[in-house]
């Protein structure tokens, strides 16, 4: 006998699956709205905080980076656009890692009182990530205009790449969700990990031709996941564009088991919210 709980037994027809997915997506959207309103209505600067969050660490980094020639042979304005776009895409990825556990923590009371599809947590987190991504893209557009950047024909490809970036981040992020109901260590540790991981990919510096950092950059899938869409948005094709798809496949391979783990482990975390 298996130790299990079977609810809503029976196979699900495709039409039901579509209906159910729609319902879960709407639930995620409503949960996002519920939290979003509370989050920004309690601040004076409102949505500006989302922009400040990415600008505040970026500006000094770009200023210092341009002084140290981290952009290689790029001009100061080209480097500023290069670094800002990279940091914005990094932030989209990192938001996708952080928000699922952040949203889940905010929803813990609901989770302990009502049974609803746990994927709604991911949809709500995606709402936050997409909202922030929208603001970030507006920031890139503004920076491109101010800094006189070019408008390559590959911009649509860069935009299409963003959902892939988000799913890749969520694949990592959903692993941490169940743990956030038990210990807060991941909640504290993940923001600290961001600056460390940021250095492992050539996001605001040009990758060196050799050495330890070069090796690290070459083997880090984030190099391609962020670097290639950045080129598509600001400079055009890189000649190494297929590497983006390869890195997407790598993250896709993480996503599937991560999702299975998420579905299996969330109920255990939820139980610990209400009972020892």
């Amino acid at each position: 006998m298996r130790d299990t709980c079977v609810l809503n037994t029976g196979t699900i027809a495709i039409t039901n699956y579509v209906t159910e997915s729609r319902r879960v997506a709407k639930l995620g959207w409503l949960l996002f709205l519920r939290d979003f309103r509370l989050r920004y209505r309690q601040t004076y600067f409102g949505y500006l905080w989302a922009v400040i969050k990415v600008l505040a660490p970026s500006v000094p980094m770009i200023l210092v980076g341009s002084q140290f020639g981290l952009g290689g042979e790029r001009s100061t304005s080209d480097y500023a656009l290069f670094a800002l776009t990279g940091l914005v895409l990094w932030q989209v990825f990192w938001d996708s890692v952080l928000f699922p556990q952040w949203v889940a923590r905010r929803m813990r009371r609901m989770l302990s009182e009502a049974r609803f599809p746990y994927e709604a947590i991911l949809y709500a987190a995606a709402g936050y990530v997409l909202f922030n991504a929208g603001l970030y893209l507006m920031l890139i557009v503004a920076a491109t205009i101010v800094l006189g950047g070019g408008m390559p024909t590959t911009i649509p490809l860069g935009l299409i790449a963003i959902p892939g970036l988000i799913l890749s981040g969520m694949g990592i992020g959903m692993v941490f969700v169940p743990f956030t109901f038990v210990y807060l260590d991941f909640r504290y540790a993940l923001p600290m990990a961001s600056p460390v991981l940021l250095w492992t990919a050539p996001i605001f510096y040009e990758s060196p031709d050799s050495g330890l950092v070069h090796t690290l950059n070459v083997w880090n899938p984030l190099t391609y996941l962020i670097g290639i869409p950045r080129s598509w948005l600001t400079e055009g094709f890189t000649g190494d564009d297929m590497a983006f798809l390869v890195s997407l496949v790598v993250f896709g391979l993480i996503f599937l088991p991560a999702h299975l783990f998420f579905r299996r482990a969330i109920p255990i975390g939820v139980e610990r919210l209400t009972h020892g």
Binding site: D3, T4, L7, R23, R37, R115, F181
Partner: protein
């Protein structure tokens, strides 16, 4: 349909440990240490233990339980909020469990937004959400507040809002943990009407600590106590039992509080949480014993309330306990019912056909459904899954057996009433543990002699003694008993043939190995396992005398009217109870010549000599003694 099969749920009392265990369980992907039979780790306890229930589609169940009995845990398991640590829960359809009044509430939302959120959380399809919103505001009479921020929404209306939100949502099954109605005035009446409609049309479980039935018809009731199902049955009968139980527990708490309030006297230890727990535990035991008489009566009420076919069993244990306890209990139950118009099917094994012949019941032998090895395997599986050798609770295995039997008889399991040995065991447990007198069993037993059927030529000598010496698991002196019975058989075979009732069917219980010798006749291979008991009944009925152990052949010999000697070596409480009940059975059926002999007090050759002397007496039977010594003049 709800099917809860042998479900256990383990929680932890220690907050820090709970988080540590949770962390490890997440890493293990939900698998607890211990595999399929996890045991509580330090500071953990069973919040629910080995719970089984089956509720057909559209029927309702009320679960009574005092605070801390496991009701909320059960509710959360049924809602899918918790997963069982052991066992299986199957539920077909969407489950609604009316939530607390603040589910997902954000004071910045308007009522409209909040209802949209509730609709999404409660699973209302997207295309029905507008109609749902309209129906809910009408039901709760809050249409005027639809654009009000929830911060300004009347607090008293929150609970009725979420309760009605759940009641109006699409659900195949509803679980009400404690409250099933909310609001006041006309809104409360509307809510109650909706609940009554839900109960009459959907599968419903109501869990409550109040000893009061809801104001609408309920099909079944159950008492949950200390995480275990104390009893299933007919609601009004159960209510009386629960009322008594909660009264006892309240009294115990009051006594404990009183003792805490008064200053402790010097010889008494100061009242502590432990002493309170012990006190309650003692009271729980006495409450259990006090309510035991209701169990059988409640079972009669449950059975009398329908006219459906009755499946009796399946009996899967030792056939000799079947004769001592189960057959008399079934006989009593059927006597209470007018079952002449009902189909009654007894389910047992190894050829107990003759034993049920006089009860007006059809008989299905499990060895017609399974081969002996397969039956032995599923019997062991039952013991492994339930953790109990006795059939105290209906297991998954037994449910499958009942379904197979029902199919074989062209019946649906849900269209039958079942008399399961669980109720019997819950009653006799109290006797075995000394909380109720042995004659309590007599109230719920009807002993009747066993007719051996037409004489069959078995090729046995005209005079012989039948023996069967079961190895009881509780014997502490097995080696001594083994030597004793061999010495006894050795002494007897010098004068009279001895037939060993060893047909080789293992489920009847292991026997002491007897050394082969002249005059010792074995029944090995004389009958298939399917005919084992039939053969043994005929052999015992034709014997001059019978010697055995309890759990061996003694009850059969008594019911066949054959003089018998029951050997024992230990006297733990339940063995004493078995002996007393065997004596009462013998008295009731008018069988004399039942002796109980302590192997430590009477040497085997002496006993053999006495038995042989008694055999030579005109009536051929030894005199009866209660002292443990065969005194025969």
């Amino acid at each position: 349909m709800i099917s809860v099969k042998n479900v256990s749920k383990i929680f932890c009392r220690d907050f820090d440990r709970a988080r540590s265990y949770g962390f490890m369980d997440i890493i293990r992907g939900g698998r607890r240490p211990g595999g399929r039979r996890p045991v509580p780790r330090p500071s953990e306890f069973f919040a629910l233990q080995n719970l089984s229930l089956h509720l057909p589609t559209g029927e309702s169940l009320v679960v009574f339980g005092t605070p801390g009995s496991g009701k909320t845990t059960l509710a959360r398991l049924l809602c899918g909020l918790f997963r069982p640590d052991i066992g299986r829960i199957e539920i077909s359809g969407r489950v609604q469990c009316p939530p607390d009044g603040k589910l997902g509430l954000n004071p910045y939302m308007t009522l409209r937004e909040y209802i949209e959120l509730l609709a999404a959380v409660l699973g209302v399809p997207v295309n029905r959400q507008q109609a749902y919103l309209t129906a809910l505001v009408d039901q709760c009479d809050v249409a005027a507040l639809i654009d009000t921020r929830m911060a300004n929404f009347p607090r008293a209306s929150l609970r009725p809002l979420t309760m009605n939100a759940s009641l109006l949502a699409d659900g195949d099954m509803f679980v009400f943990d404690d409250a099933y109605v909310a609001g006041s005035g006309a809104a409360r009446v509307r809510c109650l009407e909706r609940v009554a409609e839900v109960v009459s049309t959907r599968t419903t479980v109501i869990l409550t600590a109040t000893p009061k039935l809801p104001p609408f018809p309920i099909d079944h009731a159950m008492i949950l106590h200390e995480g275990q199902a104390l009893y299933y049955g007919y609601p009004t009968a159960i209510l009386e039992v629960f009322d008594r139980l909660s009264g006892e527990l309240n009294q115990a708490r009051k006594e404990a509080e009183d003792s805490t309030a008064s200053p402790p006297e010097p010889p008494q230890p100061p009242p502590t949480a432990i002493s309170l727990t012990q006190h309650l535990s003692t009271k729980n035991r006495s409450a259990r014993a006090a309510m035991t008489p209701f169990l059988a009566d409640a079972e009669v009420q449950r059975l009398a309330s329908s006219n459906r076919p009755v499946l009796v069993g399946p009996w899967m244990g030792n056939p000799h306990w079947e004769l001592l306890y189960w057959r008399p209990y079934v006989s009593w139950l059927l006597e209470q019912l007018d079952h002449s118009q009902r189909r009654v099917v007894a389910i047992s094994h190894a050829g107990a056909d003759l034993w049920y012949g006089g009860l007006g019941a059809e008989y299905v032998d499990l060895l017609d459904l399974y081969d002996p090895e397969e039956f032995e395997r599923i019997s062991e599986e039952r013991v492994r899954v339930t953790g109990m050798r006795k059939q105290r609770l209906m297991s998954d295995v037994e449910r499958d057996i009942l379904e197979s039997v029902a199919q074989r008889l062209d019946l649906g399991i849900d269209d039958c009433d079942v008399i399961h040995p669980g109720t019997l065991f819950r009653m006799v447990d109290e006797v075995w543990r000394g909380r109720l007198p042995a004659d309590f069993v007599l109230r719920y037993s009807r002993f009747a002699a066993v007719a051996p059927g037409p004489p069959v030529d078995l090729g046995l000598p005209p005079r012989y003694i039948a023996v069967r010496f079961n190895v009881e698991t509780t014997y502490s002196g097995r080696a001594a008993a083994h030597d004793y019975v061999n010495e006894l058989v050795h002494s007897l075979t010098a004068s009279i043939p001895v037939v060993v009732l060893d047909t080789g069917y293992s489920v009847e219980g292991a026997q002491f190995a007897l050394e082969p010798r002249d005059g010792l006749i074995s029944l090995q291979g004389a009958a298939s396992p399917r005919r084992s008991l039939e053969l043994q009944t005929q052999v015992v009925a034709g014997a001059t005398a019978c010697i055995g152990t309890l759990g061996g052949t003694v009850p059969l010999a008594v019911l066949c009217g054959v003089a018998s000697t029951c050997l024992y070596i230990e006297q733990p409480g339940f063995f004493a109870a078995h002996r007393m009940i065997t004596n009462l059975m013998a008295t009731t059926v008018g069988a004399d010549g039942l002796d109980h002999v302590n192997m430590r007090e009477v040497q085997a050759p002496v006993l053999a000599a006495r038995l042989l002397r008694a055999r030579r007496k005109p009536n051929g039977r030894p005199g009866r003694t209660h002292s443990g010594l065969a005194t025969n003049g």
